[in-house]
Symmetry: D2
Subunit: 198 residues, 4 copies
Amino acid sequence: MKILVTGFDPFAGAQQNPAWEAVSRLPQQLGRATIVSLQVPTIFNRSAAIVHAAIQRERPDVVVSVGQAGGRSALSLERVAINLDDARIADNAGQAPHDQPIQLAGATAYFTQLPVKAMRTAIRQAGVPAQLSTTAGIFVCNHLMYQVQYQRATEFSTLKAGFIHIPYLPSQVVDRPGVPSLALTEAVKGLTAALSVL
Amino acid sequence: MKILVTGFDPFAGAQQNPAWEAVSRLPQQLGRATIVSLQVPTIFNRSAAIVHAAIQRERPDVVVSVGQAGGRSALSLERVAINLDDARIADNAGQAPHDQPIQLAGATAYFTQLPVKAMRTAIRQAGVPAQLSTTAGIFVCNHLMYQVQYQRATEFSTLKAGFIHIPYLPSQVVDRPGVPSLALTEAVKGLTAALSVL
Amino acid sequence: MKILVTGFDPFAGAQQNPAWEAVSRLPQQLGRATIVSLQVPTIFNRSAAIVHAAIQRERPDVVVSVGQAGGRSALSLERVAINLDDARIADNAGQAPHDQPIQLAGATAYFTQLPVKAMRTAIRQAGVPAQLSTTAGIFVCNHLMYQVQYQRATEFSTLKAGFIHIPYLPSQVVDRPGVPSLALTEAVKGLTAALSVL
Amino acid sequence: MKILVTGFDPFAGAQQNPAWEAVSRLPQQLGRATIVSLQVPTIFNRSAAIVHAAIQRERPDVVVSVGQAGGRSALSLERVAINLDDARIADNAGQAPHDQPIQLAGATAYFTQLPVKAMRTAIRQAGVPAQLSTTAGIFVCNHLMYQVQYQRATEFSTLKAGFIHIPYLPSQVVDRPGVPSLALTEAVKGLTAALSVL
């Protein structure tokens, strides 16, 4: 089995994105699964185009995209992506679409094909906090999750895909006392546990 | 310089206390300072008696006590201890004093002698979230911080002493999604940075 | 214009549901709009059947359903309902469906037809905190929002419908210090402001 | 019995301070107690001088000071004031003292004389969220609480005094979704209940 794991690059002026930091530290082999890591830009459409090219090139069985969810305290396994872009801040190309559908011909939403409850159990057994989530937001994270599902619906029918949000790194919240974080080692441990059940 | 660092044992049914987990992983030598680690029981009075004996035995220049502050997301440098025990749960000896002064002849409160703002800066520079706090609570943490100050006021006048609260470990909140945590490696890194400025 | 506003009854052992408390205090006439209030039981399917009967009977132009979102601090205007029941607690008929689609032939999700951004502005101008939300959860609130949209899609094509979540009442959190609440007068004021823009 | 209740004026650019809004709406007579309301400026020292003059003029049996605690969700009955000013923002006279004792000859801290547990019970029975607190902060609220206690210790030995913090008003958090608030009617109801047990 081959798993493509994508992680976003830093955005909104940050020096790091915990998503790529964690994804780039995953092992290349996990049991019988091969893991291919891919950095994607925090840019509407372009992130999706890059993942599309990687799916064509790598032919993975599963795509797991990883993004930062600032303010959450646990790994969040996303259950659904919705057909809506509505950005409060600009992406890394300066775009901030408002109330736009992602795909005019797409479904209103797509559910993930990942076994999110088994993944949640595995992450928790690894000692890392985990939760299910029913919203991936309305920024680039939801956009990419939706787009990969749309690609699956229209081109790659056997693909399984999903999205995992991870908290800020401790170094991102050093002077924001009320804001939770998760150490990089914990994020990597949790992601690894989640991928192990695939 | 010799620094006595105390960490509480698990309480309220927990398997671990991040305080002792972190304290027991501190280096024994830090620059020119010698660090002596000491586990103390989460018990009113008895914790203070054990630290008192250790101060007599070890003659440290500084005592830093460390305890768990479940629900906080950053290392908290306590500024003040108050002369009040008012427990909502029992300590590890089954005691739950209500509205009791800790020392009838003691001051209403004692401020720490630790350079808490310099310690906060050092912790943050190490990439770990940190804050000052003006309440160590009204359970065994505040009790021990107060008692060591009282010992200082009455017996060990050259001693410097203080208290640092640390968040839950990730493994303690695996199924409590909204509750923040801090990895053990981060807590150790933060404590080490804090001790480095002494 | 006629607006049907539904509010759930108490559940999970509570004495009150702020949803019905607020809905039952709405004026019957608001500008040129007639408001019809309807209590619905916190029961999967049955809540939807009762609203379906009310739509047939009252022929409203708009249906606004209101439910409690314990833990949120602002009125939440829901943007989307998803085709998923996954209850952590039993509804008022003892049902707790897990990982079930609501309608086998339904869309994966439906977006609201309500002008949620204009409603948000109106609520805030009335001095009441308001936010948009992209998840109505996976319990009876999302279920009813989804079902009314399904009824719209299959039967009542000119209907506009949506969902508003309101926080706990202060009396529900008297001894839960960290949990936010909203006074009933504020909730009524906010709902009234929201309905005024329809 | 005469109760002097003080409430701060707006600060940090705000249009309102919920403290004065609530205090100014208290009844003038409550059972056998006469209530005298007094607005005080959010200014170090000057707030204390104004309350001192009012104590001399009115000769109250009890002084209850009320201030805003932005971010808290419940009425907070303060148990202790500490001898420390350490402002992060300027007061209404542009002063921002750092690490200063309030009274060089004062105690490290003073406990309140108010029956805070009975007051907590009374507030909750009135349906309003309430908690005890062991920190009134290090800004003007703690300053005034401390200064009134110092006046008591040095001049007005029979006086009872204390401090109650109240959350933001809903209108102050209309566009800050995660920040809790409490309606003015609830704050007035809670304060009235608290004063009723004196």
